[in-house]
Symmetry: C2
Subunit: 188 residues, 2 copies
Amino acid sequence: MRSGLIHLTEKGYSSTGLDDVLSHAQVTKGSFYHYFDSKAAFGQALIDAYQTYFAQQLDAAFDDRARAPLDRLRAFADQAEAGMARHDFRRGCLIGNLGQEMGTLPEDFRGQLQAVLHDWQERTALCLQEAKACGDLPSDMDCDALAAFFWTGWEGAVLRAKLDRNAAPLRAFSRLFFTLISRQGAAS
Amino acid sequence: MRSGLIHLTEKGYSSTGLDDVLSHAQVTKGSFYHYFDSKAAFGQALIDAYQTYFAQQLDAAFDDRARAPLDRLRAFADQAEAGMARHDFRRGCLIGNLGQEMGTLPEDFRGQLQAVLHDWQERTALCLQEAKACGDLPSDMDCDALAAFFWTGWEGAVLRAKLDRNAAPLRAFSRLFFTLISRQGAAS
């Protein structure tokens, strides 16, 4: 699973041969097929594992009551940046990578990828609603729409960070996102 | 070239075999290699052609003096949405697709893709500066940063639109982008 995640976040699904994953993990084809019916089934299991890991990361950031709600989202962004930096900005987001590749993936992947993004957006919307309740966002802010906006932009920023091989696109997106929404607070 | 663009915007570079492009275009390998040394050289020519086409699209939108500057950017977004709708949201942005695939592309592609995105950002920043000069953006707005923010988010939105196979992600991103920056104007 770990070898699969490394390959898919770095090179994508279509460019990753099962042989590369298995030889990197020192696992035989026989054992692989004991657990998975196909490369597609493996891909779907990787999405599930990634989602479980990521949901924990989001919960860890968003449940930190010591921070103001918007600072929790900032903390998540910093943490995600540190994660990319650890791998020298070579590995992107599994969900963003596969989303971009959807034109060549088995059709089952579509709903699964959409569900993951919706889950992240829902968790983020709850954090934004807390920010609204604290008066850190204007009372007419649509937190679901803002959470979707954050994730759309963040996936774009991860793509750029991989292209530029540095943190600048993540920081630039995050800085302006928080500037724009905080000024909103000031304006309301 | 057209067949290459169709394949690369739909399926990406790695999943596209030269044979698919050539048989779709009814072109022989011999003629292909008369014009291009390799698949990589073809890919780079496609990026150039896409950039030329897109720069014209941006100029057409941004030079339309009948519209207020921010309405020109809105017009561009509407036009890009119509472009995706024409192909049933199966084709994404060549630059975003290749950016996501950078982990497996020839290293020469990186600088070329970055240069295209910078060019789009610069054109967009000029439009935003006009908006600032009209008082439609606050006087302390960093238009270069805002243009980069727009393109980061827009590439993310194109990815989502391809995943969802509809215009909703483009519209949602664009609506909130303009709401956030216009309220800025109201707040300044």
